[in-house]
């Protein structure tokens, strides 16, 4: 528990969370404002449309992934991993603490992103005299899905970052994979099984279309990805020489 607290303190004592939070808010303002201003009142009045408006909060899962990468690979980049291992020489415990801490921080970040997105969307919809349906079961399941997905993505980022140990390279490779690599899986009709799509199926939490796995299958596969990344990342932590 002490190590988890220390990892959370690390996240709180730099400006990383602040910048990532601002990035999420900026994206939410941009997307929600565009969506509400560009669509007709009749379209915006549909619950499905309003759900689409606030789904931008799911970007917090991607940001959470980056947070996880920085929390693990960033320690190697800044050279602080030596201090971390001096305090906690059993490295498996450090890896576990990072997984838990970033999963928690990612979930909090995602929840805050949802609260802001819902509030902003409600405000803008009301400003256009559109009846607000953001409290529907479907919309609330989306909140749960986004929070869960962000927690998983954050922990996944820790494992993946521990494995690569190069912060910038790890972020770039992750983004290239999500934007280019994973769509290419579509050639073999395997794209629903890519980690990005699997996380998306958790986000959708029961509202998915045919292109995503069901929530249950997506969650199980996401947890398998997490377990594999966690084990490989922990092994990489264990074997690393801090020179």
């Amino acid at each position: 528990m002490r190590l988890v607290s220390a990892e959370l303190l690390k996240l709180r004592t730099t400006r990383l969370l602040l910048w990532l939070g601002l990035l999420i808010l900026g994206l939410e303002v941009l997307v929600i404002a565009l969506h509400v201003s560009q669509n007709s009142v009749s379209e915006l009045a549909q619950a499905r449309s309003q759900r689409d408006v606030v789904s931008i909060a799911a970007v917090s899962a991607l940001i959470s992934l980056i947070l996880g990468i920085v929390a693990s690979a960033g320690e190697f980049a800044n050279g602080t991993i030596g201090h971390t291992f001096l305090v906690a020489p059993v490295r498996e415990r450090v890896a576990a603490a990072k997984l838990v801490a970033v999963a928690f921080a990612g979930a909090v970040l995602a929840f805050a992103a949802c609260v802001f997105a819902w509030a902003l969307a409600a405000l803008l919809l009301k400003a256009r005299s559109v009846p607000v349906h953001l409290g529907s079961g479907s919309s609330l399941r989306l909140v749960a899905g986004i929070v869960l997905a962000a927690a998983i993505a954050g922990a996944l980022g820790v494992g993946y970052g521990s494995l690569l140990r190069r912060q910038t390279a790890a972020i770039v490779v992750a983004l290239v994979w999500l934007l280019v690599g994973e769509p290419l899986l579509g050639i073999a009709s395997a794209d629903p099984y890519g980690p990005g799509r699997v996380i998306a199926s958790v986000v959708e939490a029961g509202n998915q279309g045919s292109e995503l796995l069901s929530f249950d299958r997506g969650l199980v596969l996401a947890l398998i990805y997490l377990a594999v990344a966690g084990v490989l990342g922990t092994l990489a932590f264990r074997r690393a020489d801090i020179t």
């Binding site: 002490r2 303190l9 690390k10 400006r15 602080t80 001096l86 305090v87 020489p89």
Partner: protein, 298 residues
């Protein structure tokens, strides 16, 4: 059962690919003493220290702290304080927050953070981000982190790097006081003058291997190997020594520098009935001893 030494390495070896950074190193340091760890650049000092601290995995042999590998210490922060490179801080985190992270992970009360900052004279700048610190301030922060758990053993890797003269004096006084209170210090440095002023004994490695481990005084005397002798009858003594095949060169005030141990000089003088006013082993400086042992590599 005798107590395990504070630090001990046995047949310690580290290979990075085809390069052997540390080669079958064995030594143990005594408690309550300051031991200097010397060697030319690239000799393997930092790798050895990092193996002792569990940061680098040995290829062979053992690195033990109080008889166990660092990884198996019950409470590492309260057992050993380590000063690593001064750059190993998150630049955007304040000095105080860095210590808070360490204290939180180790279960050390927060009040100790402020007390330690006070001890290293960083209280005024503790809330500034580390990126604004000078190298000397970072070194003090490293020392503060090492002292957080109030350990009885300090391992320091080049702690004087970047310190100004006042900082070096502060560090010297602090380490003396720490050792005076029964603490054990193992300090690597390339500043031989600092080690000469601080250390009780030295461990010297060269090209990854141990070349000396002994008290500083014994090392400097052994390395010089000669004798200083002063006599009112210096000329006759020199002739007496020459007759025995021992070379001596004259100095001022009847002083001779003799290329032989004090025992032989004393025996030669006694045999000739020559009065001596002084007879002592000649000491080399640590630098001279170091250069002799390492073949002049620095």
């Amino acid at each position: 059962m005798p107590e395990a030494p504070p630090l001990e390495v046995r047949g310690l070896t580290k290979r990075f690919g085809s390069t052997t950074a540390v080669d079958e190193l064995s030594f143990a340091i005594e408690p309550g003493r300051i031991t200097g760890f010397l060697g030319p650049n690239g000799a393997g000092k930092t790798t050895t220290l990092r193996m002792l601290l569990g940061l680098v995995h040995p290829s062979a042999g053992q690195a033990l702290v109080r008889g166990v590998p660092y990884r198996k210490l019950d409470d590492p922060v309260r057992t050993v304080g380590a000063v690593l490179e001064a750059s190993s801080f998150h630049p955007a985190r304040s000095g105080r927050n860095h210590l808070r992270v360490v204290a939180t992970a180790a279960g050390i009360p927060r009040e100790r953070v402020d007390a330690t900052l006070e001890l290293v004279e960083l209280s005024d700048t503790a809330r500034r981000r580390v990126r604004t610190y000078s190298l000397g301030m970072r070194q003090r922060l490293s020392v503060a982190a090492a002292l957080l758990g109030d350990p009885q053993l300090l391992v320091l890797d080049e702690p004087a790097n970047g310190l100004d003269p006042e900082g070096i004096r502060w560090l010297r006084n602090f380490l003396r006081s720490f050792a005076g209170g029964g603490g054990t210090v193992f300090i690597s440095s390339h500043v031989l003058g600092e080690i000469a002023q601080l250390a009780d004994e030295v461990v010297i490695i060269h090209k990854a291997r141990l070349v000396a481990h002994e008290p500083l005084a014994a090392l400097t005397a052994r390395t010089a190997g000669g004798t200083i002798v002063r006599s009112p009858d210096a000329n006759r003594l020199r002739e007496q020594l020459a007759a025995g095949g021992i070379e001596a060169t004259s100095g001022e005030d009847g002083e001779l520098r003799v290329a032989a141990p004090p025992e032989r000089v004393g025996e030669a003088a006694a045999a000739a009935g020559i009065v001596l006013h002084e007879l002592r082993a000649e000491s080399a400086s640590l630098e001279e001893a170091f250069l002799e042992l390492t073949g002049g590599d620095e």
